[in-house]
Structure formats: structure tokens, C-alpha cells
Symmetry: C2
Subunit: 124 residues, 2 copies
């Protein structure tokens, strides 16, 4: 699963809140997928990630953050599933906002670097 090169030049933005909690692109995508699909396994599959890995990431997120970001249920009519808590949604939204702001803030420098290293503007 290779992440495509963003035209913006911003590859990773990892926001580290302390030594056991951070949000990066992968975690954000996973949260987004869970929100969209209502399931850890479906979200994982959508990004070509094993269920175990996806579940482990959710664990890390829930334990790392003070509050749970993802709530899960097993069995029942819906046969189980997962969804974001309000905190989870806010963290995701803020991360996306930060990505945008950071992109905008560094855009001029990225352009300058592209020119400096004589690189054609990327196709994507």
C-alpha cells in the first residue's frame, strides 16, 4: 500500500500530542474509513490493511488519547460494528483542517524547492 505523492508537496503531517498519542495520515484515513463504513474491518479492507492491523491502530488511538475515539460493538442485529465518538470526529476534523493549513502555509516554499531542484510539476 503505497501512498501517492501529493501535488502539494506535503507528504506527512504527524501531530504528536505526547509520547503515546499522535495522529498522522494513516490513522486519520482509518478513522475516516470507520466513520464511512461503520466497521473496522471494512475500513481496513478499503485501505488494503489487515483487520488485525486496523484493530491494533484503533487500540493505540483509544489508549493513547485520553478518551475513546472509536466505539465498537459485537454481535447483535447488526452483527457488530464500530463508529467514531464525538471526540473521534473532532480529532479527525481538526487533523484534516491542520493538513490544509499546513499545506497552504508551506506552498510557496514547496514551489521554490521544485524550481530549485528543477523538477517538473507532478502529474497527479
Amino acid at each position: 500500500m503505497k501512498r501517492p505523492v501529493p501535488a502539494s508537496g506535503l507528504g506527512h503531517l504527524r501531530v504528536v500530542l505526547d509520547e503515546n498519542f499522535y495522529i498522522g495520515p494513516g490513522r486519520a484515513d482509518l478513522l475516516e474509513g470507520i466513520e464511512k463504513t461503520g466497521s473496522i474491518s471494512a475500513a481496513g479492507k478499503a485501505m488494503a490493511m489487515s483487520y488485525k492491523r486496523a484493530w491494533s491502530l484503533v487500540q493505540a488511538l483509544n489508549e493513547g488519547a485520553g478518551a475513546p475515539l472509536v466505539e465498537t460493538s459485537r454481535g447483535g442485529t447488526a452483527q457488530g460494528g464500530a463508529h467514531l465518538t464525538a471526540t473521534g470526529r473532532e480529532i479527525l476534523a481538526r487533523y484534516r483542517a491542520m493538513e490544509q493549513k499546513a499545506r497552504a502555509a508551506i506552498a510557496p516554499d514547496v514551489e521554490a524547492l521544485r524550481a530549485l531542484t528543477k523538477r517538473p510539476p507532478p502529474k497527479t
Copy 2:
């Protein structure tokens, strides 16, 4: 070699120019170390990195960027050494500037996230 948690909350800023060239915190620190010490091995040692690893990173930087960022010499009176090219210095400077700008741009959201997850302001 663990990177300390920055009080700003910005852990990683990786600027990807294309699939074989990017700059992140590690590479920037290495460039800075080379600039300061005049040697790949000294710079590597300063960040608890093996010479081989440091040298490999320099290779990746020089090959990935269109132009060489680090120039090296062997033997001679100074017994060899390394220094940044003008391009190398500019890339480093711009990366640092981008870090600052990104930090500033996301600072309010970082604060909000800290509050949201009820985290004491970090000591560092």
C-alpha cells in the same frame, strides 16, 4: 535514538517533492550537522547514527535531488570531510522555515486537541 516530543505538537513534517526525493526532520538534522561539523561521520555520531546510515542518507539526498546537496572529499591535509553546497544550504533553510510556518499555522488546533484530550502542557 528517540526524538523528543516537541512542545509545539508538530512531530514530523515531511515535504515530498517526488517519489525519490523528500526532506524530513532526520534528513534536515543530518544536513545541519554536516554544515556544523564539516563531516558526515561527526554529524552522524552527534545524532547517535552509524556512519554508514548517515552516508546512505547523504547518498539518497544527493541522488534524489537534482543537484548534489553535500560535497565530500577524501584524504588530503584535512583528512577528508563534507560540506553543504549552496543548494543544500537553501534546501535546509527552507525546510526549517516551513517547519516554523507549519507550526504556527496549526498551533491553535494543537492547543484545542490538547484541551480536548485533557493533556497537561508538556514539560519540554
